[in-house]
């Protein structure tokens, strides 16, 4: 990722934008933080938030006119936060904060003429920057009645900050002239001096500079105390720049009120009326009022995504981590797992007001990791092996319909449907042949795992094979059932006409095998259907025809959430994948119906009753919601057997692929053994290879206590260990584990 790209992505994420109150306040007092602390009864800390930003806080907090109220997003849901009253409560009740420690003295001096709120605040701010300040005025006067001692208290604080107050001096033009001679700069509080002094043109709105060099002045007629204070701060900034000879105008856009892009979704927030101010708040009422603060933030994407939540931050931080991860030359790439865990489902950019697409960022990062050779070898290996298997001789197939020598359509059920519900795929194919005639069949993978893992060249290779098979059938229209296949093939094979099985069924009507009056089900849209409204509508039409009473989860339709399989999350971080599936499962009380084989598997594995639409249209023997979710080995076997069965029964062919030696090893597993294999992604074929090797070499370990055997073998890059005992002609497997580290100079 280039730095410019990083900046663009960072700019899109608005979570770090200021809340409305902070942006509207000309001093940018952090009212959100103040309310958060006050709501937690941390009165002194809340006051410290005000005191660190405000000049003369004891005065300003008591007279602040609260421009934040007009901007407060609580405004429409009960009423704006009574920030002014909260400020007054804090000023009266909190432990006084120490005045800020000014920067070290810079040896320069500034005169302030006029002791109004503007002049005093300017003196405060100028003194903070290390100038010696002298205020000339008849008498300090902030234009409001204050409790006794408050103004004097702040004047004492100013004295400690290095401000000299010359009372009883009426500012005149002559005084301006002499001070301009003596000082490095002069500031005039235009509302606290006579008009005769104001003979220097209109002060510039950005700098408050005048056409006299070194003379700065407030723009007359400002009535708001907080804007008066802001003018003082603006002048202090200008005087600092003027005295240092640096640009007077650069990077001043965030001085004074500015626009903020922060978005806060208020759709589900309940109105709460403001706590009546009356004669002012006591602590319980102030705390209650502060608790009404919405603590505005965006987090729209994070709220809906288990993955974004898991890493505890938000996209602006994540994209920086992705960038840093790429930039590292030596050392640990901390963000590899984060990058590889995104489900690439597109929910974040759908809900983001600025279209921040975490999926795009992560997929591009994965591609870069592949290109640079920094992708962890283990990250996607299992899924890619599964893809290779689905595309291999034992599973892949392309045929015209039995007895036909051309195809009008070709059915492409996809590798996950054939792995999880081979019976359903077989019955669907029969239905399509019955009703449409010349429908060919292609069994293989669409290439999604290659694409999701960032291996674009592998994806292209796989696609080329698929294309060749399709062209071999005369380039017929493709009927695809899996939303991911449909999405990927439509992008990658624009020359092919790809229709969804669901739209075909919408046109043909329900198959004869369809169940009747199914009852109430929650519809789960797969993430691949997010941008395919027609597909989602076809599915709902079929469900309606099936007599299903449909309910929708909160995140549904184009806002649907991924089941945890997308982007290969479940391979990279199985626990997080399961958490995503669980979140989906818990979103509704009803049983789910979905139209993606992996959604069905992921949700069903959490224990939630879930069915694929095929379970209703092309039911097998099992009760639809209770069909078991097959393990990794069984999924492979399902694909192999489906191909063999179809070849034998439809095309009267032997499968033509001879069984390999290891496949002849007869294996049974204990429950513990099977569970270990499943969670460690060890296939039955891996175990068979170990046992064949042990058989042939005669080498194995034996346990002195249990008498069990133990053997290892490394077929390619992973070494598998199998703990077993001979059982008749075969073996009973008790346990299995694996590692990637290679043992040099020992057993193979």
């Amino acid at each position: 990722m280039e730095q410019a790209e990083l900046r663009q992505w960072e700019h899109r994420c608005i979570q770090e934008e200021s809340p409305q109150c902070v942006a509207a306040c000309p001093l940018h007092v952090d009212a959100r933080e103040c309310c958060t602390l006050l709501a937690a009864r941390r009165v002194d800390k809340a006051w410290a938030v005000l005191a660190k930003t405000m000049p003369l806080p004891g005065v300003l907090a008591r007279i602040c006119d609260g421009p934040c109220k007009a901007a407060c997003l609580r405004k429409d849901i009960g009423g704006a936060i009574e920030m002014g009253a909260l400020e007054r409560f804090l000023a009266a009740s909190a432990k006084p904060a120490k005045p800020p420690r000014p920067l070290p003295r810079n040896g320069k001096s500034v005169a302030v003429l006029g002791g109004g709120m503007t002049g005093l605040c300017a003196a405060w701010e100028i003194a903070r920057k290390g100038f010696a300040v002298t205020v000339y005025c008849a008498a300090p006067d902030v234009g409001a009645a204050l409790p006794e001692g408050v103004l004097e208290g702040e004047l004492e604080a100013m004295d400690r900050m290095g401000v000299t107050l010359e009372r009883g001096v009426e500012p005149t033009s002559e005084l301006v002239e002499t001070q301009l001679e003596e000082r490095d700069a002069v500031f005039v509080d235009s509302d606290a001096v006579s008009d005769a002094v104001l003979n220097f043109g209109e002060p510039d709105e950005v700098t408050l500079g005048t056409n006299r060099l070194g003379l700065f002045a407030s723009r007359p007629g400002e009535g708001s105390p907080v804007f008066q204070a802001a003018a003082g701060r603006r002048a202090a900034n200008s005087i600092m720049r003027f005295s240092q000879g640096v640009s007077m105008v650069k990077s001043r856009e965030l001085e004074g009120p500015y626009d903020t892009r922060l978005y806060t979704n208020r759709a589900e927030m309940e109105p709460v009326e403001p706590v009546a101010v009356g004669d002012g708040y006591d602590e319980p009422r102030a705390v209650e009022e502060a608790a009404r603060c919405l603590k505005c933030e965006c987090m729209e994407c994070v709220k809906g995504c288990v993955y974004l939540k898991h890493y505890k931050q938000y996209p602006k931080v994540y994209v920086r981590q992705v960038y840093n991860n790429e930039a590292i030359v030596r050392g640990t790439r901390q963000a590899n797992k984060m990058i590889n865990s995104c489900m690439l489902c597109g929910l974040c950019d759908t809900v983001c007001p600025e279209d921040f697409a975490m999926g795009e960022v992560c997929l591009e990062a994965r591609r870069n990791m592949i290109a640079k050779g920094t992708m962890p070898p283990s990250a996607h290996e299992f899924a890619l092996r599964d893809m290779a298997f689905a595309d291999g001789d034992k599973c892949a197939l392309a045929r015209h319909a039995p007895g036909a020598d051309s195809s009008e359509y070709v059915f492409f059920p996809g590798c996950q449907l054939t792995a999880t519900d081979p019976g359903g795929a077989e019955r669907a194919y029969a239905d399509l042949r019955n009703r449409l005639g010349r429908v060919g069949l292609i069994l293989r993978c669409c290439g999604a795992p290659a694409r999701w893992s960032g291996r674009e060249s592998l994806f292209r290779e796989s696609l080329a094979e698929l294309k060749a098979a399709w062209e071999g059938l005369g380039s017929p229209r493709i009927i695809a059932a899996c939303p991911s296949c449909i999405k990927i093939l439509r992008e990658a094979m624009p020359e092919a006409e790809i229709v969804s099985h669901w739209s075909v069924l919408s046109a043909l009507g329900l198959p004869g095998t369809a169940l009747q009056d199914v009852g109430t089900l929650a519809v789960n849209d797969p993430c691949a259907a997010r941008e395919d409204g027609a597909l989602r509508a076809d599915v709902r039409g079929l469900l309606d025809a099936l007599g299903v009473d449909m309910v929708e989860a909160k995140y549904s339709g184009e806002l649907t959430q991924c089941c945890g399989y997308g982007g290969l999350l479940n391979e990279v971080d199985p626990a997080l994948g399961e958490a995503a599936a669980k979140a989906r499962a818990d979103a509704v009380d009803e049983d789910y119906v979905t139209y993606c084989a992996m959604c069905r598997e992921m949700i069903a594995r959490t224990g939630k009753r879930a069915m694929h639409l095929y379970d209703l249209l092309y039911p097998g023997d099992a009760e639809p919601g209770a069909r078991p979710a097959p393990g990794h080995s069984e999924r492979r076997e399902n694909r192999v057997r489906l191909r063999e069965k179809l070849l034998r029964e439809l095309w009267s062919e032997a499968d033509g692929v001879s069984a390999e030696d290891f496949e002849k090893i007869w294996v049974e597993c204990t429950e513990e053994g099977a569970a270990a294999m499943e969670s460690r992604r060890i296939l039955k074929s891996d175990v068979q290879k170990v046992l064949l090797q042990a058989e042939r070499s005669g080498k194995h370990l034996v346990h002195g206590g249990t008498g069990r055997f133990l053997a290892s073998f490394r077929p390619v890059v992973v070494t598998y260990w199998v703990e077993y005992e001979p059982d008749g002609d075969g073996y009973l497997v008790h346990n299995a584990w694996c590692h990637r580290m290679h043992i040099e100079g020992a057993q193979p």
Binding site: T207, Q244, V246
Partner: protein
Amino acid sequence: MASELRPLWEREELRAVAGETLRPGGFELTDRAAERIGAVPGWRILDVGAGLGATVSRLRSRYGVEAWGVEPSAAQLGLGCAVPGLVRARGDRLPFARERFDAVFCECVFSLFDDRPAGLAEFHRVLKPGGFLVLSDLCASNPVPEDGASCADRAEPLAETVRLVRGHGFAVYLLEDHSDRLRDLAARLAWIGEGVSCGCGRGLGYFLMIAKKQGA
């Protein structure tokens, strides 16, 4: 009728629609140039054809620079008397010593110079080595007779101005087309019936040029 005889830039109507600056783009191009050349407090800048002193005032109050202005029209100078640093002088005879200024601004008046080469020689003389010349003006697509009194009648083709500037010891550092601002001003003038008489929009353009004094 009397007002019709005075040049357009001295007329009240123009000030009403074009603001204090009396030129296309107003302060936008002034600010753009000032920020581009990096004007900071301590600099000395001369505005040639200062009019009421609006640019001088802008440069002083916003950029904290010591800005001076020269203006040959006594009438204009009288109106701008509150602005310090304004001097009555012609742009091609500047009453300043050599190498006095960090930058010379000449906004929408260069086309009115009787002797443009002499003007450029003067700008070059008063600029410090490496100093900036900020020139914004009308330009014509074809050479026009130099006998008109309106700025529009006397606009040079841009290529000619660039050649002239380069020929007087400057390197052109930035050249931007801002004809859209001229169209905007023409549209404003049309409201008071002056759009045609000032010639704005007759195939004329407007440009901003920043040139840097070459050599010592």
